[in-house]
Symmetry: C2
Subunit: 248 residues, 2 copies
């Protein structure tokens, strides 16, 4: 199978990493819209327009599947992408919701959803979780985490102060949905802040789980063909990909 | 005179505020590229492309002058804008450099330049300050300030931790260039951190000073015509403009 992975920037590489670890695909084509990142502060209509443009780009390849690694796009533009795409389109939001449902047997578990302003405002996670009878929900837009992680800060006093700021009215949850591809990079700090017993839901792992439920993967590919595209500075994207994915 | 003010987003409204206070113009047309903000993390070539598109937009009006309120655009794309524009183009970087020179009589004064990653990497302020014989320079990319200000945080522990992080190797300067339109919003906190004797250079005030040197303004306009355009969500831009500029 040939898969396309779409993200607004480089964050979706955390999803590619999970896909590679599970050796599910013969070929992975990544597209990061690095010229227009971040999407998380943008309008619904703009996000939809950009998402449809990404589908058009992917039409250059004969893909079997498109994975939307960006939570904001998954929250706002999945239906529109499906209308335009010649193949199935799977998003991290639905995958994260299913992973939460799989990991949390009790419907009264308290689930804390973290994401960008756009993702949280969309209420996409909340709507889908409520359909699965999870009603004990907290949601918090934690957009500063993106900028902090992009400064290569993963712990320390800035993050501590930011946690105190964002979480002052948040009660301890049973699970946290890391509703932005950047957030797995501060999962250690979050785990330390909230406690080791809190379950963290990671988009990359959730999407692999979801795909394994949807498709019969008969073969393992230990050396898949990888291609990286970016709307700006593809060299920088490939550099990050090399480091994060430990490519040769 | 009819003036166009260009910024990557809403930050340039701090420059419009200064222009209004000094009542220099009959008509002010603001364009914020809110669909593609922030520019400060983008490539030189992308910034130039966007800046030229802004010039094309301003060709819809018969302007006498374009002011580039965005430091990143001023640092990277001023020459290219001038090539395409039918009127003079003035940027905040040259204005900030001249204001520094006017305010700091001693060439050995230590000047600290703060800005986005793109502005600092461009070395635009440093190059122009050195031409005026200022050689005692420090520069620091402080991009997190943008995200922090956009969360409406202007003081407190997050900002304190961020100051400690960014300024740990910075020695006390004589003047600080606020090389990003968002930074005047934390000038009180910066003044408190560095001390009351440190001179802060503000883009809006610098541009007014620069314009008054360049043009003979014979009339005052106490009720100029104001128009606000945005590439996304113009209602939001107009809302911020009303609040920041105290418009009726």
């Amino acid at each position: 199978m040939k898969i396309g992975v779409f993200d607004s920037g480089i964050g979706g590489l955390t999803v590619v990493k999970s896909l590679l670890e599970h050796q599910l695909f013969e070929q992975i084509i990544y597209f990061g819209d690095t010229a227009r990142v971040p999407y998380g502060i943008k309008d619904k209509n703009t996000i939809i327009r950009y998402a449809i443009e990404a589908v058009e780009f992917f039409k250059n390849f004969e893909l079997d599947l498109i994975v939307v690694a960006c939570n904001t796009v998954s929250a706002y533009a999945l239906e529109e992408m499906r209308e335009h795409a010649p193949c199935p389109v799977i998003g991290v939001v639905e995958a994260g919701v299913l992973a939460t449902s799989n990991k949390m047997p009790h419907k009264d578990s308290n689930i804390l959803i973290l994401g960008t302003k756009a993702t949280i405002n969309s209420k996409a996670y909340e709507t889908q979780l409520r359909k699965l009878s999870f009603d004990n929900l907290q949601a918090k837009a934690t957009g500063l985490f993106v900028s902090i992680v992009e400064e290569d800060i993963y712990n320390g006093s800035i993050l501590d102060a930011t946690f105190a700021h964002y979480f002052k009215d948040i009660k301890k949850p049973d699970a946290i949905i890391l509703g932005c591809t950047h957030f797995p990079l501060i999962s250690d700090a979050l785990q330390e802040y909230f406690g080791e017993d809190v379950v963290l839901i990671h988009s990359g792992e959730a999407i692999v789980e979801h795909l394994e439920q949807l498709f019969a993967f008969s073969k393992k590919y230990d050396d898949p063909k990888l291609e990286f595209f970016a709307s700006e500075n593809p060299e920088a994207l490939r550099g990050v990909a090399k480091r994060w994915l430990a490519l040769r």
